[in-house]
Symmetry: C3
Subunit: 455 residues, 3 copies
């Protein structure tokens, strides 16, 4: 995963344009990905798909004609979405267009101007202090024109059409933790899932932040209605402990699953309440959707100094942490997959486990953890408690509870309670009223030529 992040690192991504297209193409080399192109000007809820931005070069040349700021060295140097410019100006005219971080004077900030047409350069504070008076040549060789917004989907059908959503933003340029780590973990998680039997259908989204989520939600009302659980993945490569931010509803199955998995399988995780600032959970948890979507991170956005600076580089993320994040994600999906309800077929008193070789034979000694898990499953399997409920109440790991349930089931002591697909229905059932049928299929669907399915 770290190597894959390294391959993606140099690309100058933005919310539209060839950077994200190239990124999706490289993801599509690893998992079956379908990409979508939505035209500039498309209305998506309160928003409009913006113009497409592409950039070839950008620099500031000093009085000595040398490049003092050079996009080719680091793509963060350009204010992302800058309009084209080619001009000569004095330092004092230039300065209002220079963005720095005085408190971390060696780092280049990552800044954008998506929704207000503007141009600018980001550079280290020390770089700026070193600029001397004189005439500067400024060049941003970009285009901002009608085009498309591009995003990718990887969909694995399951026994049920109910969906688990994994969503990552794929619009940041050379920033490693935010969010190449999320792209890498999601890509490898999709690989893990591809070979499996699945109860739920799973959908992975690789989208530009905010406008991508808005666009996807506006164009896919039917899929939205099938989402049962979801996870936004971001910032999962640094060395911090895990942070899980709950969905707006706060006690959904994904919230409880993430908390359970992190508590049992990671060190000192922190479970955060929902807040409406952060990543694309802002859109999934907007009041009209109110989906059961949380956000898995290590370091929380805007809470670490390297956030949105050149210091969020490939040295800030680590193979070991990426691997742990992948493992935690896989465990979360496992719990969702296996979280069934059973019914104890001998609800009056305990069944006699001894004669089924499910108990220790010599009485008087304490029981082991495996027998304890069996007793918990039998006691709480009244058709109401799910395995996750039992794991939570017993404070045993889900896997121990699930294994006990499977053993008891094999021994004829439990029956499976039929799933109601309305089990955790989302509270907002009606379709967004302001989406016309036409709008729903507006973008042209383009099956990625490079997808595995196509090969």
């Amino acid at each position: 995963m770290h190597r894959f992040a390294g391959e993606l690192y140099p690309i100058c991504r933005s919310i539209t344009g060839d950077g994200i297209r190239q990124t999706l193409s490289m993801i599509g080399n690893r998992i079956p990905l379908t990409t979508f192109e939505v035209p500039t000007g498309t209305a998506v809820f309160d928003w409009t798909v913006p113009k497409e931005w592409n950039i070839r070069d950008a620099y500031i040349k000093g009085p000595n004609q040398k490049r003092v700021v050079d996009f080719k060295k680091c793509n963060l140097h350009v204010l992302n979405y800058s309009t084209p410019i080619r001009a000569t100006m004095s330092l004092s005219e230039l300065k209002p267009h220079l963005l720095t971080i005085p408190q971390n004077p060696d780092w280049i900030p990552y800044r954008t101007s998506y929704y207000k047409e503007d141009w600018g350069f980001c550079l280290s504070h020390n770089q700026m202090l070193a600029l001397k008076d004189g005439e500067y040549e400024v060049c941003i060789d970009s285009t901002l024109e009608d085009g498309h917004l591009t995003y990718g989907e990887c969909y694995f059908p399951g026994q049920s059409t109910d969906e688990v959503l994994i969503s990552c933003h794929a619009c940041h340029p050379s920033l490693a933790n935010d969010n190449l780590s999320g792209l890498a973990v999601a890509t490898f998680l999709a690989q893990l899932l591809s070979g499996r039997d699945r109860r739920y259908s799973h959908r992975f989204l690789f989208i530009p932040g905010t406008i991508g989520a808005v666009t996807w939600l506006a164009r896919n009302p039917e899929a939205v209605g099938r989402i049962r659980h979801g996870l936004v993945l971001t910032g999962v490569g640094d060395k911090n402990r895990f942070h899980y931010k709950k969905s707006r509803r706060g006690n959904t199955e994904i919230d409880r699953t993430a908390a359970h998995v992190l508590t049992h399988y990671s060190e000192s995780p922190e479970i955060l309440e929902f807040s409406p600032y952060g990543y694309d959970e802002r859109q999934y948890c907007s009041p009209g959707f109110n989906l059961a979507v949380g956000c898995l991170m290590r370091s929380v956005s805007a809470s670490f100094p390297e956030y949105h600076t050149s210091a969020d580089n490939l040295e800030f993320i680590h193979p070991r942490q990426l691997a742990e994040s992948l493992r935690v994600c896989a465990l979360i999906l496992d719990v969702l997959e296996d979280n069934r309800r059973y019914r104890n077929l001998n609800p009056y008193c305990e069944p006699q486990l001894g004669r089924r070789n499910l108990y220790r034979s010599t009485g008087g000694e304490s029981i082991g953890a495996d027998i304890n898990a069996r007793l918990w499953v039998l006691n709480l399997s009244d058709g109401e408690h799910s395995l996750l409920d039992i794991a939570e109440r017993s404070d045993l790991p889900f896997v121990a509870i699930r294994d006990a349930a499977e053993l008891l089931f094999e021994n004829g002591l439990l029956s499976v309670v039929a799933e109601s697909s309305a089990r955790e229905a989302k509270p907002n059932e009606v379709l967004p009223p302001d989406i016309s049928p036409g709008q729903r299929n507006m973008g042209r669907r383009k099956t990625a030529a490079h997808s595995r399915e196509a090969r």
Copy 2:
């Protein structure tokens, strides 16, 4: 407020009589006050309006004919409501009628005998120890005769007939914190309110403790049914941190409002659970009424040594603390007034704040507190959450949330949810069955000649 408390301090108040009349007259010089006179013998629920007590002088003269205890020096010296007496007796006959506080031997206790006819003197323990054997002349020049119980109301109509109640006991003689502080703060709070547009109607009660509340509740069933929120004000002048005692229901809007305001605008407040001992919240929260009425204090009754002693004097209360208490009360009323529900008109995803100049224009930086408040309001304004709900969940001050809501409303992003007056209906809707229509209007209503409205 401290000066006003100083003016009221020398008056010998009791639950009936000219002391409370004079006090109400002085309050009526500042705010529009209507006073009511309820005749002795009037049945009010399980109680009967008592005889009216008035006192001119009282003393104990020692063997040397000098006044050793003198009502003219301090009106606490007389057991409040003492029957008249004029007699000569030995020290040993006198002693059962002397009340002191051995553990604070320099302080005079405040004691009463309202409901058992008796006489007595309160004095410092050291004063009592200095009394020598001999004959003492005892005089209490009081009257205890049929008359009236007097109380005052200040009513400000609002857009709604739903009421906010502010209640203070006005029956204690020379005691500053308990409760001249409450009278002063309530009077100034009424002044603040008088010039404002009001959503709720507001009613201020200045009443004798217990019997006054019982009498008012018995005589005003219609008004009782309109009380949505209420606050008993007492002990708000000393230097202690704030204490708010919740209503019996425990999670009403006034309880949450007081807790929110104190937490955000005062130092280390303490929120106390309801208990049936205290001030007139005992009556408002009796099970038949069960009103949403809490009690705001600094020091809690009976928990500080100066309580009900001569040490609760004008030096025990302070202008700064009174001003803070007034500010907190005003903030509480502000929250109640402004605590509306809104509906986000773009519930599907966030609306695009940027094109309305409601977002920062350069992306990549963290958002400020004002934008954060807007996101919270948008996310939770689903018609269910009130602004107080949002302030609580976001842990932001109510004012920040309210200002954000007003700005979003002005920008057409929110609609106001129509108020249902049954929003926080009290659980006991039926009128007290034992109040006959006649009894309800029994007292003669007397518009205070000195009220502003009458001038």
Copy 3:
């Protein structure tokens, strides 16, 4: 109680046989006990009543023909339920049949083999280490044949047929805390109850662990349906603080009662959540029954080193601790008996307690604890709150609340709210479907010849 435990100590009890018969006989000398005999082979839910086990002697003779392990010295030496054997074998052949506790090398373990036919000896680890190579004579003079399972009931009818259940396991041989302490406390508790007026009917069960509870539950569906509150008593003689393990439902009246009594009348009790491992609450709280039955202990099973070893002897339990346990049990039953609901007949404002001599006559002083309890009872007696609810909310001892309620009732200020027998109905109302009417009365009922009722 300690003396009684001492009398029971030498008997070699098991889940069937003459040991438990003799034990029940000695309990029946003290309280009116009915014993029941259920034939081997009787189907009880998923279980079958096992063969009856009796033992006369058992030993291992060493090469020198001396008894090196002797059942006559300590009945723990035999693996309980051992099949008969008489054989000579080498030490290496013998060793797989020897059970010890290496970490406590001087103690003899208590071990059983109820449900797998086997034989063995339990001995101290040091004893085993001292065994030298050679031929050993092994003798277990036991019988394991068709017979009966025996248990005892002591039933006291009350005004209501609703029942309180006290259940003890009576199947352990020479183990003092687990569970002669439980038998002794339950026996004396029954004595205390026998002379009283009772609201509830009370049933004491003295049964073999697990199979006894399963058998009783299978044979008594009507009685099961009448159980409102229950307590398993075990391990109540050692010096540990009290532990109460809640019922599966977790907030039943018995759970709250036990927590209240222990909190107010014992030092640092610990209230434990339900878990499905422990004593016969496992059966009472199986999902089909889900009864309001908790478990009162001092040391928790399997959590102290002496558990199920020869160190759980008469010196491990103490007269003072047994007496405290009896007192706590009696208080718990008292609370259940007296936990009524009242209705304040003057719900509008406080009634005037002063004129009924239920208040202090001199105002201005603080009120005492007795008046405080009266105010709480009046304030919360709205027909909904029980006395236990009031005790919990006021944090006053139940007895103070009950005494206040009785005084107020005598003064005409409260009425009693009629009990609904469905007040705390158990959630599983249907009878176990797999019990045929015939099975219910299968065992022959034998009124103990030695019961007091019979004398």
